[in-house]
Symmetry: C2
Subunit: 352 residues, 2 copies
């Protein structure tokens, strides 16, 4: 274990004072080009590493982050994300970080815009965004860039803001796994239903689209011919009945994949349709889905570690603001967890 070099030593090597090194390290400016160069030269040679602990101790100023997501409801996906944020705050409880949670209606782009505008009125040091509406988010991010406020995404990335750090999962891969599992269940002649559960006229989320593409690519690549049946479960009780009818009539359906986190609704429909034999695959370990997994009405859930996303988003933002590091989590593709009844108990709040 090589001893870590300290700021004072660097100062000595560069022929400057510790204060100047500090200014260079934190991009505080007010450093003459010559000294800047001298310090940076030394830095590049010695491989300085911030001492997280002492930094935290002497840090005086506080930081305020915004965490912008669709509506948080107890036990839902965004609640889990928020829990990860909370855990990160706990880990950094002795440096002053305040995280303000802001929510928008994921079915209403004006509410999202309003949320973004309000955010621009606040004094914040960093923003974590769970994007839904591409164009609105993009213009918001552009304004943040202009103001030099760092931001990053969780849950999904945004096209056009490509170099932004994102913590999400590969939804296409999720789709392919779902397809594979559903396929395992099917004997010849049996079929797979792909269910879109959402409101009427609702714009489909990018995640949902990517998942479906993943499903299609699985069947394209594997050359299997389980013809896919599509059905849409609309968010009103009448159309629930319609989907119920669908499952009653299509006895050849052996597996069903629900493209969003509302698998529990389809589980309910299947129950009413008397189709307990259908193997149901859903997404996200929400409280409602969890119950279905326990009782067996959902066979498997593909999960994206929302806690980890929130947790590392905060951690990364801290890294950027306090230590100017952007590299370590650049890609940030979070593992995809496949949860079934048996391993369910071990996917808890705690981040392992």
């Amino acid at each position: 274990m090589a001893k870590q070099i300290k700021i004072k030593e660097i100062a000595q090597l560069a022929g400057v004072s510790a204060g100047t090194v500090d200014r260079v390290l934190h991009n505080r400016g007010n450093v003459s080009p010559e000294k800047l160069e001298a310090v940076e030269k030394v830095l590049s040679q010695v491989g300085y590493k911030f001492n997280l602990h002492t930094s935290a101790v002497s840090l005086k100023r506080g930081y305020r982050f915004l965490f912008i997501t669709p509506q948080v409801q107890p036990g839902n996906y965004w609640d889990a994300q928020k829990d990860g944020v909370r855990q990160a705050m706990e880990e950094y409880s002795d440096i002053h970080i305040e995280i303000l949670s802001r929510e928008y209606d994921q079915f209403d782009h004006t509410s999202c815009e309003a949320c973004f505008n309000a955010a621009l009125g606040e004094e914040v040091d960093g923003v974590i965004i769970a994007p839904t509406f591409q164009t609105e988010t993009l213009s918001f991010c552009r304004e943040l860039s202009r103001r030099k406020i760092p931001f990053l995404f969780v849950d999904a990335s945004v096209e056009g803001a490509d170099n932004a750090i994102t913590f999400c999962t590969d939804q296409n891969a999720c789709g392919r796994i779902a397809a594979r599992l559903a396929d395992w269940h099917c004997r010849s002649g049996e079929k797979i239903a792909v269910v879109h559960s959402g409101r009427k006229n609702q714009q489909r989320s990018t995640n949902s689209i990517a998942r479906e593409q993943g499903i299609l690519s699985y069947f394209r690549e594997s050359g299997r011919e389980n013809i896919l049946l599509h059905t849409t479960l609309k968010q009103s009780s009448e159309v629930f009945a319609e989907t119920e009818e669908f499952f009653r009539q299509h006895g050849e359906v052996r597996s069903a994949i629900v493209l969003n986190s509302r698998g529990y609704q389809v589980a309910d429909v299947l129950r009413r349709a008397g189709r307990k034999d259908v193997c149901l695959i859903g997404f996200d370990l929400t409280a409602l889905n969890r119950r279905c997994l326990e009782e067996g009405s959902i066979a498997a859930l593909l999960c994206q570690r929302p806690q980890s996303q929130g947790f590392y988003a905060v951690k990364t933002l801290i890294g950027i603001l306090l230590y100017g590091k952007t590299d370590p989590y650049q890609t940030g593709l979070i593992p995809i967890d496949l949860v079934m009844k048996e391993n369910l108990p071990y996917y808890r709040e705690v981040i392992f």
Copy 2:
């Protein structure tokens, strides 16, 4: 966010000096019963939390841990555990921790005993053990307890050392998941092979036994009748041929579960037997298994996050030694990950 109380304030409240509070917090002794009581009373009321950062800064002494495992080989399971240990050391790079890796032959209990004896000759502050031999480990732990050296287990627990912290996965649940996946693949009349891969006369590991029990309990509970076929793959090429013959003859076998991390060997046997149709389920994301998953010769792997185990073992040991906390990770059951070709790329070295 309530402001954290500091040692000085506690001292004031208890009518003692900061030094005395420090002595109480760290069980350093030499505190009169009256003052001890006074301090503890205040402590119980205010809920003091160690400031990790300041502790780390002012910490002068170093700590030495032992990490005792079966042989580490590049890319194997223990290598992954060690990588988690390395990551923890990186996280705590500014407090002086030295971790010595010690290996024993997992097929030879005398080598394990020798390893333990050597360990007792060294000056260490804490020990992390990956247990294989129950009795040997137990007596080693008893000696460690006598010397008041904290220890904990990774990968598996040890019967009789029940209150010891363990980071492992529920192997029974692993077995049930494997059984469920294998079962999904089977149509009526088709069968599942359970493969024990190991040396001749080799004592079966507790993990392997627990997994098999999990498989059996799945079929007992589900009432399904896929008759299980057992075969043992011995570690010598002649018997490889024997197993190859087994798969050639039993065309009704549709899925196979390998009970340890040597799934890649069975994948090889299946290839030679011309049984690419058999759905192979294995354990642990080792380098060799990873390759099989990529090329499709293994369908799924059940993994136990070895990195996390090593990582949290170190983190916990630090917590115990430096801050006297034992509670937070007491149970420490790590999630079981189900890895297939599609989500494989996202299970990397980095702990998320």
